[in-house]
């Protein structure tokens, strides 16, 4: 329960951080890391596929409301990420840091593929090229680099909460 609450708090914080004008200072060459994706992925990795996809769906829905874009597009994408990472997390064993780096790198690319497919289907075919853009690879690298830091922080807080 404490774990779930921790992730809910983190997601709320990152939604407001990413939507605030302050987020400009977090961007590298105009690309910001997706803290929400990182948190959803880590939640799925640590809690499993069921809480992972529910957290992903809820976070995605909030993102859609704030973005003003196609309602459900981020909810759909984050649900898939939550489910996928949750399943992989249950089956893969080894160095957690390396796993989180790989999960976030490939998770970002999957997010881009799903987003561009849905946008091309519901909005405009022009969105389809999004996943092949250089900026999405930069976002994948940024997410992969930040994920282990956040992973260490979250697991650290978790340990303190357990005491």
């Amino acid at each position: 329960m404490k774990r779930d609450l921790l992730f809910i708090l983190l997601i709320t914080f990152f939604i407001f951080l990413q939507s605030s004008p302050l987020s400009v200072h977090l961007a590298l060459w105009g690309v910001s890391p997706d803290f929400l994706l990182i948190t959803v992925s880590l939640a799925a990795f640590l809690l499993g596929p069921v809480p992972g996809q529910i957290i992903g769906f809820t976070a995605g829905l909030f993102v859609d409301i704030i973005s003003g874009g196609l309602l459900g597009i981020s909810a759909f994408t984050f649900t898939i990420i939550g489910f996928g990472v949750g399943i992989v997390g249950q089956k893969v064993y080894g160095n957690s840091i390396l796993i989180t780096i790989s999960l976030l790198f490939f998770g970002t690319l999957i997010k881009a593929v799903v987003l561009s497919m849905l946008a091309a289907l519901f909005l405009k075919p022009g969105y389809f090229g999004y996943f092949s853009q250089g900026r999405i690879f930069l976002e994948a690298v940024l997410n992969g680099v930040i994920a282990p830091v956040l992973f260490i922080l979250i697991t650290g807080v978790e340990k303190r909460l357990k005491r």
Partner: protein, 288 residues
């Protein structure tokens, strides 16, 4: 083992349900019910966003005001001198303005930029790199309406930001000109050839000026302005500069990639032009 399997089955069932809900929401996203739901949720979230931004601004202002205090006296002196200069030039300006109006009247040209504006502060942006929408702290209460044009000043030059796509009582959402679903009537400043400026985000932060007559000679750095066609933007507002031109062997049109003057990442204040845009007129030009 059975427990693991049952968890996986449970996960798959929940996945199917959640994906179905998301897909349904996307399918009905354009209907009135969903838009109202979005507006309602947006209205609930906005006060928190505004409170967050205000708190950050308060803390920032508090510390910077201590720093700035010592410069204020010096600035006050400079401002007094400037004010005296402005007093002198004001009289001349009024004279020129009157003469300009008289000449415009004589040649039958109406003033193109005489619109009232509302100053608004950007309080939030889309949390995703995929969308670039902006939220400002002015809404219906300040006379803001849907499809109203939004401009900003960069180096004292008026430039296009985008248009209002969603209005609440105290807040509005802006669709920037770089968004893929944004269409703006534009023209080249020197040659006066017109076209339609289409956003390219998230693929690029540049815009594509389409349907320009093939005969038009377009050069790198050419200035692009609003053409006034489409009924949203007043004519003659700066959009950006041409960064590349694409002219195919066939066809009657050519395209140019335009770099917007506005830096959307660092936009803090905008001006909403409070002109009425009729949906019918707007619909003739826009796809939405």
């Amino acid at each position: 083992m059975d427990e693991v399997r049952s968890t996986q089955y449970k996960a798959i069932i929940i996945l199917v349900i959640l994906l179905f809900i998301s897909f349904t929401l996307m399918g009905f996203s354009q209907t009135k019910i969903t838009i109202n739901f979005k507006s309602l949720a947006f209205a609930v979230i906005y006060p928190f966003q505004y409170a967050g931004v205000s708190s950050i601004a308060f803390v920032k202002d508090f510390f910077s005001s201590i720093k700035k205090n010592k410069y204020l006296k010096r600035e006050l002196e400079q401002t007094r001198k400037l004010l005296q200069e402005y007093e002198r030039t004001r009289y001349e300006f009024d004279e020129i303005k009157r003469e300009n109006e008289r000449l415009r009247h004589l040649i039958g040209v109406q003033s193109e930029l005489e619109y009232d504006t509302v100053i608004a502060v950007v309080v939030a942006k889309s949390p995703q790199n995929f969308y670039k929408t902006l939220i400002v702290n002015r809404g219906k209460e300040s006379g803001v309406g849907k499809w109203m044009p939004v401009i900003a000043y960069k180096d004292n030059v008026k430039c296009v930001v985008g248009k209002i796509i969603d209005v609440q009582k105290f807040s509005s959402r802006i669709q920037p000109l770089i968004e893929q679903s944004s269409y703006i009537g534009a023209m080249l400043k020197d040659s006066r050839y017109s076209g339609i400026l289409v956003g390219q985000s998230p693929l690029s932060d540049n815009c594509l000026l389409q349907y320009i007559n093939r005969r038009a000679e377009i050069n790198y750095g050419d200035i692009v302005l609003t053409s006034g066609m489409g009924g949203v933007f007043p004519k003659g507002i700066m959009i950006g500069e041409v960064v590349s031109v694409s002219k195919k062997r066939y066809g009657i049109f050519q395209e140019a990639l335009v770099s917007p003057l506005v830096d959307f990442g660092r936009l803090e204040e905008v001006y909403i032009v409070t002109k009425t845009v009729t949906e019918e007129y707007y619909g003739l030009f826009e796809e939405e």
